[in-house]
Symmetry: C2
Subunit: 178 residues, 2 copies
DNA sequence: GTCTATAATACGATAGAC
DNA sequence: GTCTATCGTATTATAGAC
């Protein structure tokens, strides 16, 4: 399916850095046929964002089932970073880097991409509410999201998984002491 | 000067999003003449990176003169974020966003861009050493750098200066309690 | 040196034969 | 539906008149 190909290509090369030729080659479809399914390249991106939303949404739902303690859910969120260590170091965070790129000159596309941040922010805020931190839940969620983004940026810039490992350990300590 | 124009254009539109036409219009030079000074667009980016290095280097040197207490220097670093609040919210961090973009498909150019991170990392590590934290100086520097990056990403994604303000206050509290 | 015209190529998007 | 050839535009980069 071309959406899955686009998802990977956009992640590895960026939206602008991914040409139709790349998508054509990666998907195995023929050049013209992509336009049967998507009118423009922007439409492909929107489909890719929807796929991300679906996949991450399912992941969060799984954690909701798997863990009852909200702290364990937050730990699972941070564990995701170490679990995806290799790709995060190589290409950065898929949703962070996408939003950063679209923030420059494609503000119209950044708006749908921001929904990915909303997804995590709201889920994290839910965890903090379960911990009794009702009034600070949203700001704590954005704090944690920011910490995760910062860790990923540094690990990506220095291409160093050890940096990611060390900082996620810090972050989990912060969670346990909440 | 075309380098100063390129610096601003690259920041606001990204490297790939900035065309020669943009640089031509912004610099006031004539199309062909830019090639008298720079052989390729990549060379312009390298000059822009050097300009960033020079400007930020001078800023850090000024702080070294202005403050004797290393904690005050760290506070000044964080104050820079609130001082540049408007542009950070609108376009993200100039050195972070540049490295993120170049990390996708232009790893050769990310290497020189990373020198900007090195500049801040080494200066911050110097501050931590002055505070007697010799063995942890470098990791503390990268931690602080990551926190700053994360704050900027979140504030940029949500286009919200209040988020930046709140998180920088957090960060300064963290510094004061070190 | 100053300036313009244009080359060479890659891009997103389309047309249309089969 | 399947597949190919190509359009129009924008890009980086040059050639070369003055």
């Amino acid at each position: 399916m071309s959406v899955k190909s686009g998802q990977l290509q956009f992640y590895e090369h960026g939206y602008d850095g991914t040409s139709f030729s790349h998508i054509v080659e990666a998907s195995g479809l023929y050049r013209g046929n992509i336009y049967h399914y998507f009118k423009t390249k922007d439409d492909i991106l929107k489909a890719v964002i929807d796929l991300h939303l679906k996949e991450f949404g399912e992941l969060l739902a799984r954690w909701d089932q798997e863990f009852t303690d909200p702290k364990e859910k937050l730990i699972a969120f941070v564990d995701m970073l170490t679990g995806r260590k290799a790709e995060l170091v190589q290409y950065g965070c898929p949703i962070g880097s996408m939003n950063m790129e679209l923030g420059k000159g494609r503000r119209d596309l950044q708006k749908p991409a921001r929904a990915l941040f909303d997804l995590f922010r709201d889920w994290l805020a839910g965890c903090f509410k379960e911990m009794g931190k009702d009034d600070k839940a949203k700001s704590l969620a954005l704090h944690l999201l920011g910490r995760a983004q910062g860790i990923t940026v540094i690990a990506h810039v220095y291409q160093d998984p050890k940096l990611l490992r060390r900082e996620t350990t810090n972050l989990q300590t912060w969670i346990r002491n909440l």
